[in-house]
Symmetry: C2
Subunit: 604 residues, 2 copies
Amino acid sequence: MSKTTIKLCDTFLYPRQELGRSSTIPASLARCEETGRLKAFTLQWKAGDPDQPHIYWDSDVAKVLEGMAYTSALFQDKDLEKQLDELVALVLTAQQPDGYLNTHFTVVEPENRWKNLFDWHELYCAGHLIEAAVARYESLGKRDFLDAMCKYADLIWNVFGPDGKPGYPGHEELELALIKLYRATGNKKYLDLANLFIDRRGTEPNYYLQEDSPDVSYRDLRNRQAHIPVRQQHEATGHAVRAVYLYAGMADAAFETGDTELMDLCDELFDDITTKKMYITGGIGCRIPGEGLGSAYELPLNRAYAESCAAMGLVQFAARMLKYRGNVKYADIIERLICNGAISGLSLSGDRFFYANPHACDKEFRSLFHWARTRQPWHNTSCCPTSYCRFLPQLGNFCYRAKEKDLYIDIAASAEIETEQYKVKIISGWPWNGNVTVEILRGSVNLHIRIPDWCGGNYEISGTGSEQKRYWHSKDAVSAGEKIKIKFELKATLLYPDCRIPSTRGKAAIRRGPMIYCVESPDCEGFAPGELSIPANSTWQESQCDALPEGTVILTGEGYAELPGKELYSTEPPEFRPVTYRAVPYALWQNRGKAEMEIFFTLK
Amino acid sequence: MSKTTIKLCDTFLYPRQELGRSSTIPASLARCEETGRLKAFTLQWKAGDPDQPHIYWDSDVAKVLEGMAYTSALFQDKDLEKQLDELVALVLTAQQPDGYLNTHFTVVEPENRWKNLFDWHELYCAGHLIEAAVARYESLGKRDFLDAMCKYADLIWNVFGPDGKPGYPGHEELELALIKLYRATGNKKYLDLANLFIDRRGTEPNYYLQEDSPDVSYRDLRNRQAHIPVRQQHEATGHAVRAVYLYAGMADAAFETGDTELMDLCDELFDDITTKKMYITGGIGCRIPGEGLGSAYELPLNRAYAESCAAMGLVQFAARMLKYRGNVKYADIIERLICNGAISGLSLSGDRFFYANPHACDKEFRSLFHWARTRQPWHNTSCCPTSYCRFLPQLGNFCYRAKEKDLYIDIAASAEIETEQYKVKIISGWPWNGNVTVEILRGSVNLHIRIPDWCGGNYEISGTGSEQKRYWHSKDAVSAGEKIKIKFELKATLLYPDCRIPSTRGKAAIRRGPMIYCVESPDCEGFAPGELSIPANSTWQESQCDALPEGTVILTGEGYAELPGKELYSTEPPEFRPVTYRAVPYALWQNRGKAEMEIFFTLK
């Protein structure tokens, strides 16, 4: 296995990777400790004790462990690696002689093991433990956790394999984890089990309607993507996180088995999400009930759910599709997400989190979501905080793809990329300006540089090459000592939503390069952000803001604030006064105290 | 007691009164029969039987009885009166020797009588029974029900009077009912009890937090207007129906006791609702959770709750304030409601009902409120259908006020008004045109004619008189044989909402006279109502529509439909095509099948 290292050094993503190491992971570990999530693995809990292990606690810990594995490797942080060693040892003490590892179903209700796949997250927790074990093995070369998880996966194979019960995960995730395990071990059984789970899903007789569970009442099969067989699902539906985890696993399975029909379906589902059901920030899952994807164009703003985990999950799905299919549309969505909707859930302090990401914060919002108006230190359902632990150290992998003699620059963030074949340094103003220098430090490499959607086709690249399908390909390999200079046009502009979206009709948003902007109340003098109208020919002055990270470009624009009416409903047309406002990147909103916030503005 | 009869004969309200008699009351009685609500009064129910009497069933029956009393008097319908006699006899069989009358707490859980005023609707049911009894006595002169309810009220006095438990109704209503009972009987005890309930409300120690109830857990005192003493409440808050019933009772109490401080407070609460928390249709109560009033300007459209009962309750509150204070603003709101938000809950067939009244029906709406998209034949909580039974026969009282030698024409619907002093006939195009003739058939009368808000001060009145505070007062009494001709300007215009309302910024609605219009999908060719933009200088052609009642004015206008975007979010400004659309009165929407619907349109 050839080793590739991608080290970001840009001013937007890299500081978050540092933050993950210095704040997000330590904070998450502290919360896992305080809440009893770590102690649960000692299996000492007895009825009547406090801190009863919950059905999804193991997954929270597993996700922190996965993040610790990537992060300790990325930063070559030996202390973190040692801490991880100790935690893995703790986790493994909870493994049963038959390979089973689940704190809740070992100490709280052992009689109900595998009884309720629909709701009880057992296979989901298994999947996250497997992902953590593979991350540790691949990042740090340590096999103990991996071997233990193979034993667990073997048990799951015995229970749910071809000769076992016809069940499948109620919260998808294990599918993609099993394929990671297959890739790490070469044991095809794990791939087969993933395929079995995918192809069983939604078939008749429906497993979930026949499950021998103490609490089978009404079950919303569509929320679990289990209402019809997966291969008949041509619209993305149901619980948003579950959906994208399933689709990511399907893409992996399709790639491994060469199943183009399944891969085409993944592409169709990706398009359905990103052309009909996605917020401008890349966020998905508009519905509060069921944390679900909505109908086409159903994208309410102030009660957007847009769960942080769903945004990060869509990045994972898109990254797989980009790897397998190479189409630039996948990279466009990844960039949209990592600059906006997949980062907005994390505070600049690294230890506060949005579970749901509002896309407008106004008077209506306050009554709906008062608890979600500020990022919280933790959530009882703590999937989102722990997702950031593992998401942040992977950010470099979403920007660069190294393949033998080729380097795909999907997102030109400043970085060093090193493989056996070459070492390349990228010096870039991304995401704040469009100037990029690609310098070959060692070896030679064929460069494939994505032309971002936001430059509108306006760019210059100094080397010899040509554009095909929005990737610029160098004609020949570029060698050590050579530099390629790139200038992407990066300017602020209006973005108009499709009129089929009810919540944003007659409005436009401000985008600058990959960043979607918003207006918060501290940047409005004497008016609410929602009362702002902006001209269709708006231009903006660019500046910095002391309260936001160095380099962040703030936009100052001229608009109109509507004056309050004399009556609630009046025959007099509204009056406006000219106002100056500032817009800040959406990903950074709500880092300067509580505020009203808007992304879309009426045009005037 | 001098007898006044007000007989409407207009084309908008009167047909609904006929419908109430021919459809709404019979349908409600049928549902009360089917669901066991009538049988409950036989007290035969035993544990294990179906149709267990529910805590608020008695109120449903009482409201139908109240409506039957008004309706049988209005139409001099002897059959209906006989049916009412039989039902009253049935209801009275359930009265206990001590005067108590509640089916649920007599047969289901007699041990819990008066145990949970906060939630269990016992005093609310009592209030509706009293209202029905007073209606029967005043409309038909029959005392049996009234006497029985005095006995019940006496029991309540003994339990909760000055020497009793310090409780008060968890669902306000009994306050206003007791004042009706006081007026009907002259027994001041009932007025005193109403005042006691009002002044106890929200005082410390809070009764609801000390109640000896089996299910006291978290109690949202604000939802019950019981978080602070009533006289300290300067903002309308909490459950919308409860709020307006309470305020109506407070207004009655303030009038009877000459308490100007309390009356001023009622005025303040009325203004708070109608200048900050009211939909353009007059609907109130924007929040689904708690069926509550929101913050100022919190008026979402597609998830408007705007319960039919709350709209009818606001009419009752406004009618009292108009009677006691005479300010034209109260009449403006009454007219807005009876033409729009208090009528929209009733189908043209008279037997289907909206509980919540959507103020936009779009893609987002469908996921929120699929059950509320069409009017339903009944609701398990059937307060709204039964409210229409009693509301419709009272419509004339909301248009005309007769006081000895004076006639207040608050809403100039065609009608005949007869008192001992005079008989007046009004021939009017209201609400479809502004031509009104007032003909004195007998006696002489001082006329006081409201100049409607919607005419913008443009009117002609043929007689001698002068305008003060938007009422035209005849200089002298007008005598038999004389006619006054009035011409109010009545034309379609745009209405602009205050910019502090988030959901309607940059948009306008269409109003013609007292009617708010909406656009439904059957009246849009190839576009959704929400995709329609209209010019700020719009004009409309007026016509009729076969599928709507004769006389209904339909507006045909020219606008622009936005074309679907090529991308979900695009740098290309949207394109529009010119389209023709039709607008229909909001009160009549969803009478031609399922449809998307919008009231507010982006201006172009």
